[in-house]
Symmetry: C2
Subunit: 217 residues, 2 copies
């Protein structure tokens, strides 16, 4: 029955009014639609169908796919910032430990955010993002620096500590993610705590270098 065609589905969608989509809706819809899909498999036409808009409407707000992914990275980052719990712990060691345990917990629970923020997948050769997002001006990190200084850790040392622990935690997330599908010989286990504790123990003598009782020498 070729011409009867009860379901002539072509262009079933009605035209949307102006202002009925905006960048925020597109980004939110993309997070919803792609939460469990590896980034290589994303497709703008498919996203358009999911959002019930024409493909070209997405291109009105984001000139390329990379630009959309970059915007999603910014959004994931903002959400991550917001969800970081308040500082907790007594003394600089506990403050740092809890900060990076929270850091890890939030990103380990969200593969998409981890891919966007830590692995920075899908934004190749980019000038769209300004380098490592984690290291950028981050209000919560400023809070932490203030608290560390109040707890007696000099500013220079606090920066070293932050950078070292940030690098370690991101490396841990990366290795953890790689080992997900096929756990190999050396599995992470709960070694994150070991690594953090060890780094903190290494920092300790830098704060009080004359603790062994040998005088100021």
């Amino acid at each position: 029955m070729p011409s009867a065609a009860g379901k002539a589905e072509k262009s079933a969608r009605t035209r949307r009014p102006r202002g009925s989509i905006n960048p925020a809706d597109i980004i939110a819809g993309a997070f919803d639609f792609y939460r469990d899909t590896p980034i290589e498999q994303w497709s703008i036409p498919q996203l358009a169908t999911h959002l019930d808009v024409g493909v070209t409407s997405i291109y009105w707000y984001f000139r390329t796919k990379r630009e959309l992914v970059a915007a999603m990275t910014e959004a994931a980052l903002a959400s991550f910032y917001e969800r970081m719990p308040p500082l907790r712990g007594e003394g600089w060691e506990e403050l740092l430990r809890n900060f990076f345990l929270d850091f890890h917990r939030l990103l380990a629970a969200d593969d998409l955010a981890c891919d966007l923020i830590v692995r920075q997948i899908g934004v190749p050769g980019d000038d769209l993002l300004g380098g490592d997002p984690v290291a950028r001006n981050w209000p919560r990190a400023q809070e932490l620096f203030a608290a560390l200084e109040a707890a007696g850790l000099p500013a220079a040392l606090a920066q070293h500590a932050f950078f070292t622990l940030s690098v370690y935690t991101q490396g841990f997330l990366l290795v953890e993610r790689k080992g997900r599908s096929a756990p190999s010989a050396a599995s992470p286990g709960d070694d994150l705590e070991f690594g953090i504790t060890n780094i903190l123990r290494g920092l300790r003598p830098l704060l009080a270098p004359t603790e062994e009782g040998r005088g100021v020498a």
Copy 2:
């Protein structure tokens, strides 16, 4: 002049004899061709043209693009293993420090190898690779473990040390690579040495926990 067509370039290539390509040639050609191209921009048809073979010949040896990329990762890993210099240094601390400085130097100098091995880009959701390649049975690492034991570092502690330093170094490579295009506030600088030294200093008291003169308590 529609029909004269002095340069009818269609199918200018002559048919290749059987056995004139093999997986190794394809992988080698891919490294040559793609050394400076972000992986998202790779194209099998273009690679075929570069290798002067039909597209389908590549698909005879690699059933999907992912399979080819996985094979390239294995190859990059083998080359990395080979290029790691011999162990050097006196005592476990120097052995570990030099090992991971070499580790970093080799991968920092080769973006493609770093993407394949450390970031594991282009092999999404894979069972093709067995988790983190770095952590897999690696002859040079076995050597290192033997040398560490000979230098007085207990096996259990050596494994912790290796894992922690491996995670840190990979995190460093990742952050370094992210910060490449647009250097942000906290730049790595030569902080790799700081981080490694700090981790080693943290490990030290685990080896000789009674060094402060307080007895075995």
